[in-house]
């Protein structure tokens, strides 16, 4: 069992080195700007106090994925976080920390997969190599729904409850800013121009139209009456 451990350590070391090299390259590319602002979230036009669940990301340039292995945790019959941004090339872990069996599957066009059912304490992972929107569900519990945003770069921000966000280290250029919520019909989209050592400030408004996302089970059928909740 020593050899795999050594191998993993070696790989991690390499990954860290590569990441550092990437960061260095990015920084070496020159001065960067930042994007900051506020997101106001409404539910069918009614302002929400809590703006959590919104992710902002920039599209228009690519960056290598970080070595980090983000997690989407299953607990209390839910996925945490509900929206997980990753960079294309990253592998996501799906640990079950709940007391019941869970299943993880996606029927998305970008990354269809099915990890099968597994109990508490086990974890499975999946590599997301192409950008896209991957809706993730549990085949047992219909209320469990999450989205993995596979992004081309690492310039994203998970908005807090107060709606404030900041994206740092943005290379200068004309990019598109997207504001994503699972409950909105369409993402909010802004064209921005980032200059070195400057901050683009903008306020966004996202109107959510639902509080949950109806979907089919992995067989393409509706969840049965006796489905677990």
């Amino acid at each position: 069992m020593v050899r795999p451990l050594v191998l993993v350590v070696a790989l991690l070391t390499c990954a860290c080195a590569l990441s550092l090299a990437g960061i260095w390259r990015a920084r070496a590319a020159g001065p960067t700007g930042q994007v900051a602002g506020t997101v106001k979230v409404t539910l069918k036009g009614v302002p929400k106090a809590n703006a959590a669940g919104v992710v902002l990301y920039l599209v228009g340039f690519s960056e290598p994925a970080s070595a980090a292995k983000p997690q989407m945790v299953m607990e209390a019959k839910g996925f945490v976080p509900m929206v997980l941004p990753v960079t294309a090339g990253q592998t996501v872990d799906f640990p079950n920390r709940d007391t019941v069996f869970h299943n993880v599957f996606s029927a998305s066009a970008t990354k269809p997969f099915d990890l099968g059912q597994y109990p508490q304490g086990e974890s499975k992972s999946r590599l997301f190599n192409a950008p896209g929107v991957v809706d993730v569900y549990c085949n047992i519990h219909p209320q469990m729904a999450a989205t993995i945003l596979v992004l081309p770069n690492r310039k994203w921000a998970v908005v807090g409850k107060d709606g404030q966000f900041t994206i740092e280290g943005v290379p200068p250029g004309k990019w598109t800013l997207y504001g994503y919520s699972r409950f909105a019909d369409k993402p909010v989209k802004r064209e921005i121009e980032v200059h070195a050592d400057a901050t683009v400030r903008l306020d966004l408004a996202i109107d959510e139209v639902r509080t949950e996302t109806p979907h089919m089970n992995k067989f393409g059928q509706p969840y049965g009456k006796g489905a677990y909740k």
């Binding site: 599209v59 294309a88 599957f105 029927a107 998305s108 066009a109 970008t110 990354k111 269809p112 997969f113 099915d114 190599n129 192409a130 950008p131 896209g132 929107v133 809706d135 945003l149 596979v150 992004l151 081309p152 598109t176 997207y178 994503y180 369409k186 993402p187 989209k189 089919m216 992995k218 067989f219 393409g220």
Partner: protein
């Protein structure tokens, strides 16, 4: 309508009308049947094609459905909203991954049915962007855009891009990668259970090759639901939804008519002056549960079969023409038939008027010719009979007439034959005629002559002529008869009998008693038709005839009724049919003749009792012997004896008186022959 011609024309016209009428009727029926049959065949073909299309579609759907159940994720992927691009996250890699995944699954699905259905059935599956995911024609060909196939393009760009009934259909011709052009029938339907996918069915017919690669160019593209079903022109289609919504170009009344009927095909339905045939086909959804609607295929028969209708019109014209021809032919034929009949009728009228020289020129049918021949034979017969009657100018026994008609040569030219000729004269008639009114004279004369002639005819003789109160007849011609002399004798006896009969009647009518003088002679004479061209007599000429006449006259001398020569006696006795009692009267020399003639009288037949007694006859014979040798005194004794025995016998008295005179004044020379001085 009475004439033959009119009837014939009418009958021929009727026959022609019937024939042509039935022909036109049959042709019309035939054409209508053919039209209907063709329509039915087309309908059946349409139905087959539809069924094949539906079946193919169903199989394709089933394949994808099976795949979806075996690999649920496949369906999820196919159905999943690929909204990465909406989120600015679309990437070629993502697209390719997804396409590859779908493709692999489709490759692994069961398409054996499509291969069994034949290479002409191309089945392809496209994704929501019209990209080829799989095709049975070229399984390795992935990712190509099908949007150039207008059906695909239309399905993907239409506002209501989720057709539920029949999908989007297209057909036309296309070229496959430089191969021969092919006719195709392409349809695109959403795959059930995988709404992101579309099933593309291409049923292609290619000349001289197998469809190998997928199409690259659509030569003609048109929304032709009708052409899918029917390749023949003149066909209309309509889709009638269960709610009654009518889409298509079949006239609504026609569609309603076929939908209301029990049969799948209407009988000819009239719409705006045109006959329509319509066919209905129930369309169900792919599971066969739900009725999508009724497909109505209509055909305008009158337009589709305009050529046949033209033929029908031509036939009607031909019918009219043949009717005219038949009538003209009938008239001509009737004319030809009636002409000889009319000619015969005309000739018959002439015959009735007495013209027996009429001949009919017969043309026409055999029966008519036979009629004409018979008519000609009849006039010929009448002519000959008339000629006979003209020639003989008197009564002929029927058997003689028959003989002459059967042996025309018998009266041709002249013949020298031995015959018996007979003259019969009514004695004392001249005096009688002077004292009586002429009407009575003629009446009596005719009565007597008729009896005399009748006796001659009955006995087989020919009444030659009447000379005043004299009837002349001859025997042995024209029918040759060996017993002509005997027949003449029989005729003489019959004439005497007839005279007795008339005499009885005459007393009642206060007519005078008339007697007859008969002279008979047998000898050679010439017999034949004598006279000019117009009037000819079949008669006898010669010395023998004159002699007979003289002998008739000699009756006056001997007060006899019948005198005949020894030639006749000999000829009559040579034929033993009758036994006559002849009595020699005298030996005479008639006027103009040197040769003496022995005369006999006829005392009847041997069995007759009315004749003179044997004694008287014997005395007469003795007297005659003495008289010959000039012993007139002795002869006178004998003759007186005979006269006393037979006081009414003429020769007895005559010879007694003559011998008395000769005895008183004997002649210088005596050869026993008495010379007659009167004719």
């Amino acid at each position: 309508m009475g004439s033959l011609r009119a009837r014939l024309v009418a009958v021929l016209a009727l026959v022609a009308l019937l024939a042509v009428g039935s022909l036109v009727f049959a042709a019309r029926r035939l054409m209508e049947d053919r039209a209907e049959q063709q329509a039915r065949i087309d309908f059946e073909s349409a139905k087959d094609q539809l069924d094949r299309s539906l079946s193919l579609r169903y199989e394709a759907f089933r394949s994808i459905s099976d795949l979806s159940y075996v690999l649920p994720v496949f369906r999820q992927i196919a159905a999943g909203t690929d909204d990465a691009a909406d989120f600015g996250l679309g990437s070629e890699q993502g697209d390719a991954d997804r396409t590859e995944l779908l493709h692999q699954n489709l490759v692994d699905a069961d398409w054996s049915w499509a291969r069994q259905a034949g290479s002409q059935a191309l089945v392809a599956v496209a994704d929501g962007k019209g990209r080829l995911l799989y095709s049975t024609a070229a399984p390795g060909n992935v990712g190509r855009s099908l949007t150039r196939l207008s059906a695909v393009h239309q399905a993907l760009t239409a506002d209501d891009a989720t057709p539920t009934a029949g999908g989007v259909h297209d057909s036309g011709a296309m070229v496959i990668d430089g191969h021969d052009p092919l006719l195709f029938d392409a349809g695109l339907w959403p795959a059930p259970g995988a709404p992101g996918l579309h099933v593309v069915l291409v049923r292609a017919t290619m000349l001289g090759g197998q469809p190998k690669a997928l199409f690259v160019q659509v030569v003609r593209a048109k929304d032709l639901l009708a052409d899918v079903a029917l390749t023949s022109r003149g066909t209309h289609m309509a889709l009638v939804s269960p709610a009654g919504k009518h889409e298509g170009d079949v006239p609504r009344p026609v569609a309603e008519a076929v939908l209301a009927g029990q049969d799948h095909v209407t009988r000819a339905h009239m719409h705006e002056g045109r006959r329509w045939l319509a066919y209905k086909h129930l369309l169900r959804d792919i599971e066969g549960r739900q009725t999508i609607g009724q497909l109505v295929i209509g055909r305008d028969v009158d337009t589709g079969f305009a050529a046949l209708l033209a033929v029908r019109n031509a036939l009607a014209l031909a019918a009219l023409a043949s009717l005219l021809v038949a009538m003209v032919a009938g008239a001509v034929f009737a004319q030809r038939l009636a002409k000889p009949v009319l000619a015969i009728e005309k000739a018959a009228t002439k015959v009735a008027d007495g013209d027996l020289d009429v001949q009919v020129q017969a043309t026409g049918p055999t029966e008519i010719q036979r009629l004409a021949d018979s008519f000609n034979a009849m006039t010929r017969g009448l002519r000959e009979r008339q000629k006979l009657e003209r020639t003989f100018k008197r009564y002929l026994a029927p058997e003689v007439v028959d003989y002459l008609l059967n042996n025309p040569e018998a009266q041709q030219g002249g013949q020298r034959r031995t015959l018996t000729v007979m003259f019969s004269d009514i004695a004392g008639f001249t005096h009688f005629a002077e004292t009586r009114p002429p009407e009575e004279v003629v009446e009596i004369l005719n009565t007597y002559l008729a009896e005399l002639a009748s006796a001659i005819s009955i006995s087989g003789g020919v009444v030659d002529k009447f000379i005043g109160d004299n009837a002349m007849g001859f025997f042995g011609a024209p029918i040759p008869r060996a017993d002509h002399a005997a027949r003449a004798c029989v005729a003489a006896l019959r004439q005497l009998d007839a005279l007795h009969r008339i005499a009885l009647l005459d007393r009642a009518r206060h007519w005078p008693k008339l007697s007859v003088r008969i002279g008979i002679h047998t000898g050679d004479m010439v017999v034949g038709n004598v006279g000019g061209h117009q009037t000819q007599d079949y008669t006898v000429v010669g010395d023998a005839v004159n002699l007979a006449s003289r002998i008739e006259g000699a009756n006056k001398v001997y007060h006899t009724q019948v005198l005949l020569t020894d030639a006749t006696k000999a000829a009559a006795q040579a034929n033993p049919s009758h036994s006559f009692r002849f009595r020699e009267v005298d030996l005479v020399r008639v006027v103009g003749k040197q040769t003496p003639v022995r005369l006999y009288t006829l005392d009847g037949l041997a069995e007759d009792k009315s004749a003179i007694s044997e004694d008287a006859a014997q005395a007469y014979a003795l007297g005659l012997s003495a008289y010959r040798v000039g012993a007139f005194a002795e002869a006178a004794v004998q003759f007186h004896l005979a006269a006393s025995l037979a006081p009414h016998d003429g020769p007895c008295g005559e010879m007694a008186r003559r011998c008395e005179a000769l005895r008183r004044d004997p002649p210088l020379q005596w050869d026993g022959v008495w010379t007659l001085t009167a004719k």
